[in-house]
């Protein structure tokens, strides 16, 4: 009996989380223009529109490109930042760690607004250069990359670096061939986290973006206020597509890490 309650609870919570997404997914394959309205026939129209409509296509690729570029820059910046800080003296270490914590605990809206004031209002950087937007997203994502690399640095065997130097490697060689390879899991998960944070962001984007550029978040918010049915239903398709992609990535990563764990166990 008790087990039934437990499973029942989990099912209810899952329903709360997934029913809206799944209902939208079903409707995305129909010609209906409102959820709950009549369905005349099934169609792929929404999915075709998603890629045919130039505005939508540019918006999606723009969002992805922004996320990938910013995540890449964040990852490089934060990786070297984390390594450098880890071997710094106590004071600079404490200062950088605290500064790194600021965007993590701060509300995104305050981060975005403050970057906007500094860059756009005071320094008068042109929004259309994408520089404020890029910097905003790096400010948002780099601290999280930093945080995901730190534990790997702590786990790392310090003597390996020293050994590489003793064996004649230059510091640069030791860094790239010994230290960084050991940090790769942390760097990769940091990069993935940076991509997802950037893709999900609304506030920093709103306050720093060029007026003609939209990411998925800002576009969707505007679209829900607009009355263009075709765009609205195409976004249902986008939502479904992203849902499927996220599931695929999660399953993929899980299989991958499962395999790795298996391999490790074999060695032992």
């Amino acid at each position: 009996m008790k087990k039934i309650f437990r499973i029942g609870w989990l099912v209810i919570v899952l329903a709360f989380i997934y029913v809206p997404i799944l209902v939208l997914a079903v409707y995305s394959f129909t010609d209906a223009s409102i959820v709950g309205g009549g369905i005349n026939s099934f169609s792929f129209e929404n999915y075709i529109n998603l890629f045919k409509n130039e505005e939508l296509r540019n918006m999606i690729f723009g969002t992805l490109l922004l996320a990938l570029i910013c995540a890449a820059i964040s990852t490089v910046l934060a990786t070297f930042g984390a390594i450098g800080t880890f071997y710094s003296k106590r004071l600079p270490k404490a200062l950088i760690n605290s500064a790194n914590q600021v965007p993590v605990v701060n509300a995104d809206i305050v981060t975005g607004f403050s970057v906007c004031i500094l860059l756009i209002v005071i320094l008068r950087v042109d929004k259309d250069t994408f520089i404020p937007l890029g910097i905003g997203h790096i400010v948002l994502t780099a601290p999280f990359v930093y945080l995901s690399i730190l534990p790997k640095l702590k786990q790392m065997d310090n003597s390996l670096y020293e050994a590489a130097l003793d064996l004649g490697a230059t510091p640069a060689q030791a860094l790239f061939k010994v230290v960084i390879p050991q940090l790769i899991p942390g760097i990769l998960s940091g990069f993935m986290l940076a991509v997802t944070l950037s893709l999900d962001d609304y506030f920093i984007t709103t306050y720093t973006k060029p007026s003609t550029f939209d990411t998925i978040s800002t576009y969707v918010v505007n679209a829900t206020k607009g009355s263009q049915t075709e765009i609205k239903t195409a976004l249902w398709a986008l939502s479904t597509l992203i849902f499927v992609i996220v599931i695929a990535i999660v399953i993929g990563m899980n299989l991958l890490s499962g395999k790795k764990k298996g391999a490790k166990n074999d060695k032992i």
């Binding site: 989990l10 029913v19 071997y87 995104d108 004031i117």
Partner: protein, 265 residues
């Protein structure tokens, strides 16, 4: 030896410069703008305006109320969920957990769109129950961020402690209240911070659901649209102080493993 360490620590210079320029400097800029008027003269007028207007004070109270209720609702839903997941003897409970936190990686505006469509079918006009719908929307958005830290801290719970407590005569309720609950406080605190602050500022959820917003975040949004940087900075500073106070309290309970958003990957 010394020289090598010196070389390695130099690697942090670009990141340190970046943090100073784009994380620390903007904070000072906010403080400067909050205490000046449009002509750049020092003034308390922005704060006086905020704390003497019933409108803005009402917004502040409404945000507090909304975020506290949202946080409690998230906690009430997430705690049993995390507890069942963490304590179950299901072999691949990690996979089950992923099912609950997977929405984290789906763009929140798209998820809120889905929620809005469903709620509209059920309720009709969403603006009729703004507070109720705000809580639902925020909970829908932030629930995974509450489940994850709770799960992590409950997973670490030592079974032998529970058995010992039971052997010593504690009934199930006492064991939970005196062992499980206190030991999961780091997870609770971490989850609360993940929900409390965003639900004070994420006005987009409300904006999307019923085209209207009354929370602290929306004040920044409206000052931004009006190019009123001084008052926008003043609100940001108020939020920063709230965030600082919350962090001060939560740092006492902090548990590094349960922190950070989306850290599962």
């Amino acid at each position: 030896m010394k020289k090598i360490r010196f070389n390695r620590s130099q690697l942090c210079i670009p990141y340190a410069v970046f943090l100073v320029l784009f994380v620390i400097a903007p904070l000072f800029v906010i403080v400067y703008y909050a205490f000046t008027n449009g002509e750049g003269n020092f003034t308390f007028a922005n704060f006086v305006g905020f704390f003497s207007s019933t409108n803005t004070l009402g917004t502040l109270l409404y945000s507090f109320l909304l975020s506290i209720v949202t946080t409690l609702v998230c906690l009430i839903i997430a705690y049993p969920t995390a507890y069942i997941l963490a304590r179950s003897n299901f072999k691949k409970k990690y996979v089950l957990l992923l099912l609950f936190i997977l929405p984290m990686w789906i763009n929140f505006t798209l998820r809120i769109t889905a929620l809005k469509e469903i709620l509209s079918v059920i309720e009709g006009n969403l603006a009729a129950y703004p507070f109720f719908n705000s809580v639902i929307g925020m909970t829908f958005d932030f629930l995974p961020f509450m489940i994850l830290p709770l799960y992590t801290s409950l997973l670490k719970l030592d079974n032998s402690l529970l058995e010992a407590a039971a052997d010593l005569g504690g009934n199930k309720f006492t064991v939970f209240l005196r062992i499980t609950l206190p030991l999961s406080i780091p997870g609770i605190v971490s989850g609360v911070t993940m929900v409390l602050l965003p639900s004070m500022t994420n006005y987009v959820v409300l904006d999307m659901l019923y085209n209207s917003t009354y929370i602290m975040g929306s004040l920044i949004g409206s000052y931004f649209s009006a190019y009123d940087w001084n008052n926008g900075s003043m609100i940001s500073l108020v939020l920063l102080i709230i965030i600082f106070l919350v962090t001060l309290v939560t740092n006492r309970f902090s548990d590094k493993d349960t922190n950070s958003r989306g850290a599962v990957l």
